[in-house]
């Protein structure tokens, strides 16, 4: 069986399970006795193992298997949870993630055995509960034996589809099926068994599970009847259960059942001996009610029992190896977005409306052709308005489909801060809010690194040592926060700490030492200008270089990463009470609502999201502060930016007595942009200017207007 088609699902799911494990292990450290958490961990570990096995990733399976053993002992109270164990478990998780990365890159798990980790896990087991780990060890070979190379799997040709229910006893067989059963009993002297297998609801690889069940059964005999047909099962065209009738020499029902249950994610197996007569009778009297359901013998525990489900491994391994080889070194690059069905429905509706609108336009234009009176402008106009509404909605829907919560990126951070806290010997806590804030998928993907840098920076430089904190009258445990929220067309992510803040004197001294400024210049620098030094390449404030930060590849990388996403970073810092880094990112990347303005004969677009108000001011209202033009509007003093000067236009011969000022904002900052003319609001598609002239901070891109003309988009954030 070729499992490569499941690779995407595997990667997706494994990521989820790793995340779940990480979250829960964190929770476990806080509450070592919480049974719910332990069970949750156990389930995730078990699924992880099962999936790795199915995909034929033996090493990964081995590691997760040993982890599962440890969790099992924790659940049985045989092993106590302490920080040492948590550390080991986190290391294991990292190793599993390592496997996953290799799988992503090469479609294969690589050759790292992680023997040291496995030994550590086993030491935990041995140290605390020799007896039970022996049990597990004993069971392992037993299960492996059960799955020993399957006999040549002749494709049981029985592919007739008895239109029966899920239950094997209620199967209705046609003559051919009955004939097969009969010949198995009479000619070969085999016993007949009916079996219904129920797969867990959450299972995604149902066909794979069914395949493994069949493999397991083939050790005992031959499957005669499939319901649904074997083809349908292979194609995953079945609900949560399927039934088979198979012939076997074996009389050991329990052994068969155990080996089927050893396949992971099987919820329940109903297995009973059956006879040909039963089915003959059923075929004769089709109306006969289905017999009483078989004993629900399968204890739900059995699925999750410590008995290792190694059965899937060899079977799937042999089948997937050729496929894996074929795909080796070919990175799995597809990136997926899980989309809420409702969002897709909305999209579908809007597309239907679009078609209706198009048809109306067609009919208007054809009716105007017939009647010589020209276009009926009124209905034409209303149709265009209708079309406009649809395209706006359509755009919104498509953008929504692309939006994902930043959760997927930030949820690995609590773990990171925990590790850092231990490494640095500084107690600290990460508080996150707004994880549900949505951003474009491409932005979310690239947000991880810069945020990680900022958090590490806070942990390493921001938070002081416990002694210093005590001396400063602060709680010993430092707090790092990450707040995300939406503001207009931007998403703001604040990362900060309640630590010592940035010591601007030190930064200044460092900058002078580095020869970046002269001492005289340094004295005239504003607070902000000094802090900006931190964003210079290879400017590190760490006194000693640690492997966490201090190599000077921090903040400048953060800055360039964020700017590459069309955003910017700002810092606010108060000496003694902490610093806050504010990352501002555009909500969408491709299409925005914009105000079109005119300066002389050129058109420019300003993103509507950053516009606060548009004012007409008289030239007399302009005042001067530090030789810069400002205007006093509703209690705030707003600097005036003459766009014509900024954009290198020839000055006008005579200045008009009234100026049109577009007031824009960036966070708390405001500025008034002087334009010649307002054109109006428009939805614009952002196009890149191309690489050769894209060194231009003022212009964030270009757009093509309705008449084919190109207009520049002003980057308001760069103006201020």
């Amino acid at each position: 069986m070729d499992v490569s088609q499941y690779l995407d699902i595997f990667i997706d799911e494994t990521n989820e399970h790793i995340q779940a494990l990480s979250d829960n292990i964190m929770a476990l450290e806080q509450e070592p006795e919480n049974k719910d958490t332990i069970n949750e961990i156990f389930r995730a570990a078990h699924s992880l193992k099962g999936m790795a096995g199915t995909m034929g990733f033996k090493r990964m399976q081995h590691l997760t298997h040993d982890m599962e053993n440890v969790f099992s002992e924790v659940r049985n109270d045989a092993v106590k949870v302490d920080s040492n164990l948590i550390d080991i478990l986190f290391k294991c998780l990292d190793a599993v993630e390592g496997y996953l990365e290799t799988v992503k890159a090469t479609s294969d798990e690589g050759t790292e055995d992680n023997a040291a980790l496995i030994k550590m896990l086993n030491d935990v087991l041995d140290g605390n509960s020799g007896g039970s780990s022996d049990d597990a060890a004993e069971e392992a070979p037993a299960a492996a034996e059960a799955s020993a190379p399957a006999p040549s799997a002749d494709d049981a040709a029985g592919s007739e589809d008895p239109n029966g229910t899920n239950h094997f006893l209620a199967l209705k067989l046609d003559d051919e099926g009955l004939g097969k059963l009969r010949s198995a009993v009479e000619d070969d002297g085999l016993k007949l068994y009916g079996m219904t297998v129920h797969i867990q609801k959450e299972c995604l690889l149902k066909a794979a599970r069914a395949f493994l069940v069949f493999k397991a059964l083939e050790d005992y005999g031959e499957i005669l009847i499939y319901d649904p047909s074997s083809q349908d099962i292979e194609d995953e065209k079945f609900d949560l259960g399927f039934s088979v009738i198979f012939a076997s020499e074996s009389e050991d029902i329990e052994a068969i059942k155990t080996s089927v249950l050893a396949v992971s994610e099987i919820e329940q197996v109903d297995l009973l001996p059956v006879t040909v007569e039963q089915y003959e009778k059923a075929a004769e009297a089709e109306s006969e009610a289905a017999p009483a359901p078989a004993a629900e013998a399968a204890e739900p525990e059995a699925v999750a029992a410590p008995a290792p489900a190694t059965a899937p491994a060899p079977a799937a391994e042999s089948a997937s190896t050729p496929a894996a080889k074929k795909a080796a070194n070919k990175p799995v690059t597809t990136r997926t977005v899980r989309v809420d069905l409702e969002k897709l429905d909305a999209l579908m509706n809007q597309v239907s409306e679009l078609i209706i609108a198009k048809n109306s336009l067609v009919s208007i234009s054809s009716s105007s052709e017939n009647s010589s009176g020209g276009l009926d402008t009124q209905s034409w106009q209303s149709q265009i308005e209708y079309l406009e509404r649809i395209t706006t909605n359509l755009h919104e829907s498509v953008m929504k489909v692309r939006m994902v919560p930043i959760e997927s990126t930030v949820n690995k951070f609590p773990r990171m801060i925990r590790d850092l806290s231990r490494k640095l010997g500084k107690p600290m806590n990460l508080v996150m809010t707004g994880e549900e804030t949505e951003l474009d998928r491409t932005v979310v993907d690239q947000l991880g690194d810069p945020l990680q840098h900022l958090l590490r920076n806070s942990a390493d430089h921001g938070i002081e040592s416990p002694e210093e904190r005590r001396a400063a009258g602060k709680p010993e445990e430092g707090t790092i926060f990450l707040n995300a929220f939406q503001e207009g067309n931007n998403v703001i992510i604040q990362v900060g700490d309640d630590g010592g803040g940035i010591n601007t004197e030190k930064v200044k001294a460092k900058a002078i030492e580095r020869g970046m400024v002269t001492p005289e210049e340094a004295d005239n620098l504003s607070q902000k200008e000094i802090i900006d030094f931190l964003f210079m390449p290879s400017f590190s404030m760490a006194k000693t270089i640690t492997d966490i930060s201090g190599r000077g590849v921090g903040l400048d990388v953060v800055k360039s990463n964020i700017e590459a996403l069309g955003g910017n970073v700002e810092v606010k810092s108060t000496l003694g009470s902490g610093s806050t880094f504010t990352v501002r990112l555009p909500l969408t990347l491709a299409i925005i609502q914009a105000l079109m303005v005119e300066i002389r004969d050129e058109k420019y677009a300003i993103a509507l999201g950053s516009i606060q108000i548009i004012e007409d001011i008289s030239i007399e209202d302009i005042k001067y502060v530090e030789a810069k033009e400002v205007v006093h509007l509703r209690g705030s003093v707003i600097p005036i930016i003459r766009l014509d000067q900024l954009l290198d236009f020839e000055p006008l011969d005579s200045e008009p007595s009234n100026l049109t000022v577009v007031v824009v904002k960036k966070g708390d900052l405001q500025a008034g942009l002087v334009v010649d003319n307002l054109i109006g609001q428009q939805e614009i598609v952002i196009k890149s200017l191309g690489k050769v002239i894209d060194n231009n901070k003022l212009i964030s891109g270009a757009t093509i207007l309705g008449d084919g003309e190109v207009a520049m988009i002003l980057d308001v954030n760069a103006l201020m």
């Binding site: 050129e602 900024l646 954009l647 290198d648 196009k687 890149s688 200017l689 191309g690 690489k691 050769v692 002239i693 894209d694 060194n695 231009n696 901070k697 003022l698 212009i699 891109g701 270009a702 757009t703 093509i704 084919g708 003309e709 190109v710 207009a711 520049m712």
Partner: protein, 153 residues
């Protein structure tokens, strides 16, 4: 006879011959995406001076460079023969070059191009990597990568 042997022996490259000022220049046809007539160029503020701006090429925004300004000649004079050669480059994407006139397509083998480019005190020598002989006239062969340099960020 000799010419025939030559065609067999060496690879020939096609060049588009354009007029810039009073001289003829050749552009390797393999990087030329297409040639469009002069159209409205939108100025990009703060762009390098030899980029007059961008054009709308079937819904894509394409930067246009003035070959004359880049080579230090006087500003373009827009006539009915002015064309924009659209180049498709691997690193830079689509880039247009303003030329005064497009003349013809010629095929030159390596032996017909003089690579010994000694008159290095002329300003535009860095942008050409050889001089081809087409009939009686000479064609300077553009070094595309030197003309369209990537902008250092």
């Amino acid at each position: 006879m000799a010419a025939e042997l030559e065609t067999l022996d060496e690879e020939k490259i096609q060049y588009i011959v354009v007029m810039i000022g009073s001289e003829q220049y050749g552009l390797d046809i393999s990087v030329v995406d297409n040639i469009v007539r002069m159209q409205k160029i939108t100025r990009v503020p703060k762009a390098p001076s030899y980029y007059p701006g961008v054009i709308n090429l079937r819904g894509e925004v394409v930067p246009v460079m003035s070959a004359r300004l880049k080579m230090g000649l006087e500003e373009d004079e827009i006539t009915k023969d002015t064309r924009i050669i659209i180049l498709r480059l691997e690193a830079q994407g689509l880039v247009g070059i303003l030329v005064d006139e497009v003349k013809e397509v010629i095929t030159l083998g390596e032996s017909e191009i003089d690579r010994s480019n000694q008159n290095s005190n002329k300003q535009d020598t860095t942008y050409i990597n050889g001089i081809g002989k087409s009939g009686d006239s000479l064609v300077s062969i553009f070094e595309i990568n030197a003309i369209i340099d990537e902008v250092e960020v």
